[in-house]
């Protein structure tokens, strides 16, 4: 899929860093009581962006805690 390739090749370490930091700040800002809901909402939005059943199912399995 050429679209995917283009998107991935543009993903630099710096960009990963920037997004990571932004996410850390957003979780802190959400606060302890709402961080789980915040992360659930974020997951849904990212899955919608992904538009791939297989990739999403694989990520859901990989993210299971205790198997890292």
């Amino acid at each position: 899929m050429s679209n995917d390739t283009a998107r991935h090749s543009a993903w630099t370490e710096t960009e990963r860093d920037q997004v990571y930091t932004e996410l850390c700040r957003a979780i802190t800002a959400a606060g302890a009581a709402r961080e789980t809901l915040y992360l659930a909402r974020l997951s849904l939005l990212l899955i919608e962006e992904l538009k791939s059943r297989d990739v999403a199912i694989r990520a859901i399995a990989e993210a299971k805690v205790g198997e890292g």
Partner: protein, 580 residues
């Protein structure tokens, strides 16, 4: 820093230095000095050596009678070694220091990152070298003692008071019971993080006083392990802590760990609190060798800087000017870069070859470097010591995934110190040819090092770029080495020495060329410089590119020097018939 306990250091003897008082006339040092340096730590000693290389004398004021008590800064960058070479102090660092290139990080017991810093077999130095600060200072003191004609090192001398005006600084000094005054044209404050001079002038540092506190511990133990950076996140030995471990010479190992918010720094550096942490860690690593505690101290991480490093006749360098967080080893390494940036400029001003405004480029360039260093160091700090819940949660997520998802491990990489370009400085000049060059060696970039052959012997380009400006010339047909030498000689009208380095693909016939004829047999320099025949690069005494031309006459080079030094061309008569 401050709170610390010290045991006997293996294989190191402290030399105690006599108090030094100059000849006094009615309580006054009879000589008015050009430069007094406050602080005989690595930055102050480095500056005295760098000034001596420029032929400028200085007095170094040091309150103590010997070098520092603990290992403190232990990790020197490749760039620091290049600078130490230019200061004439390299040998000890190479024979004592332990070079390294790799690191490994563990989450609990799983290895989650293995990194290898960029380096090539042909590089002169490894990216990082571990050596404790007492050795760093001792080697610099030894080098300074060899320059006794230019470096007046006054041990056991305390700065009591200072008074600065537009022309210089008056200092009240004390040595034991003797008090005297001294006068200097320039005072350079290299008096560390808690600079008395900075406080006396009422100068504020700006930035983030990040509250991270770390215990740093040296342990003597004989381990047959390689020199590499080892990091453990949340290890079973010390749950919730981040532990760092570095090898030092003479079987000394450094352990660093962050204090929790509720832990008292003084309490936590007591041997009875340090020993269990080390013991648990060594048990986890299955270390069964005997070991003992050598030194423990605390370190407080801040990202603070003065806005300006030059205040009239008082100049700040190193920790006195700026502070960076601990991760990535940018503290002392940026201190050495300060010194090397400042020395040639201050020397040019002292000797009347440049306008005092040249010093503002020191402040501008090094402040920009501090800001970039902080942004890199903060990234590391936020990962090593998460400042809030979001950073903590996400770090644990990254660490638990990284072993199976390699791409995430870039987030764990500690981003060690690297040389930064000076992109925004008045010393970068744009020649009419600038747009025609491709490649990264634009004005403001440090000239990277390359192997060369000189006089039949293998050397490095960096060895030919120091003390003065250098014109790197790539001869072409009809432009011989003699022509290049004549052009550069014509450029010397500023009174500022300028050296010539001629880069050739081969020496024609004669095996032994002149000492500035550098053979670039593999063509690596020509390629990196995007240099066709006739190209000329003007390089600063601290190794950064100022200007590049496709072709340049002696007049072009001289005009560039005049602009950089801030002296009008007419005064030297450059317009009046200097041959090109």
């Amino acid at each position: 820093m401050g709170l610390e306990m010290t045991g006997e250091i293996p294989n190191f003897t402290y030399r105690l230095h006599e108090a030094a008082v100059p000849p006094l006339t009615a309580g006054r040092d009879g000589t008015r000095h050009s430069v007094v340096i406050a602080g005989g730590g690595p930055v102050g000693l480095g500056l005295a050596l760098a000034l001596a290389r420029q032929g400028v004398a200085s007095v170094v004021i040091e309150a103590d009678d010997t070098v520092c008590k603990g290992s403190r800064a232990i990790c020197l960058s490749r760039r620091s070694l290049e600078i130490l070479d230019h200061l004439g102090a390299l040998d000890g660092f190479l024979s004592k220091g332990l070079g390294w290139t790799t690191g490994r990080s563990f989450y609990r017991e799983t290895e989650v990152l293995r990194f290898d810093m960029p380096h090539a077999a042909s590089d002169r130095f490894l990216p990082m070298t571990n050596i404790p600060q007492y050795w760093i200072e001792e080697f610099l003191v030894e080098a300074a003692e060899k320059h006794a004609d230019l470096i007046d090192l006054r041990w056991q001398t305390k700065l009591e008071r200072m008074e600065a005006d537009a022309h210089g600084v008056r200092l009240d000094l004390s040595t034991g019971a003797t008090r005297y005054t001294a006068e200097t044209d320039w005072l350079v404050a290299c008096d560390g993080a808690r600079s008395k001079i900075r406080q006396d002038l009422g100068l504020r540092m700006n930035g983030t006083a990040y509250e991270g506190r770390y215990v740093i511990v040296d342990v003597e133990v004989d381990l047959p392990w390689p020199t590499e950076r080892l990091a453990w996140f949340d290890p079973p030995s010390n749950p919730g802590r981040t532990m760092l471990m570095h090898r030092q010479p003479d079987n000394v190992w450094r352990l660093d760990y962050q204090l929790h918010d509720d832990e008292d720094a003084e309490e936590m550096t007591r041997p009875e609190r340090v020993l269990p942490v080390v013991e648990a860690h060594f048990r986890m690593l299955k270390i069964d060798k005997p070991w003992r505690l050598v030194w423990a101290s605390t370190y407080r991480a801040s990202a603070l800087s003065l806005d300006d490093y030059v205040h009239g006749r008082v100049i700040f360098a190193g920790d006195a000017a700026h502070l960076v967080p601990i991760f990535g080893v940018r503290g002392l390494n940026s201190g050495f870069e300060d010194v090397f940036n400042l020395a040639w400029k201050l020397a040019a001003v002292v000797e009347g070859r440049a306008a005092p405004e040249l010093l503002s480029s020191y402040s501008r360039e090094r402040h920009d470097a501090w800001a970039t260093n902080v942004s890199h160091a903060m990234k590391s700090t936020e990962f090593m010591a998460p400042p809030s819940r979001g950073f903590e949660l996400m770090r644990d997520a990254v660490l638990s995934l990284a072993a199976r998802h390699q791409s995430l491990s870039t987030l764990i990489n500690p981003r060690q110190s690297s040389v930064l370009p000076y992109d925004d400085t008045a010393l970068n000049l744009t020649s009419p040819d600038e747009h025609s060059f491709s490649g990264p060696l634009r004005p403001g970039v440090l000239v990277p090092d390359f192997p060369v052959e000189c006089g039949g012997r293998p050397q490095f380009l960096s060895q030919h770029l120091a003390d003065s400006f250098t014109a790197i010339v790539f001869p072409g047909e009809g432009l011989s080495a003699e022509h290049a030498a004549a052009a550069v000689a014509a450029a010397q009208v500023t009174g500022m020495p300028i050296a010539l380095a001629i880069v050739v693909p081969r020496t024609d016939g004669a095996a032994m060329g002149p000492s500035n004829l550098l053979v670039d047999a593999a063509g690596r320099i020509r390629k990196a410089f995007d240099a066709d025949p006739f190209a000329v690069y003007l390089v600063r005494p601290d190794g950064y590119v100022c200007c590049r031309w496709r072709r340049a006459s002696g007049n072009d080079i001289a005009a560039a020097l005049h602009e950089i030094l801030g002296v009008p061309a007419a005064a030297d008569g450059i317009g009046a018939g200097v041959p090109s």
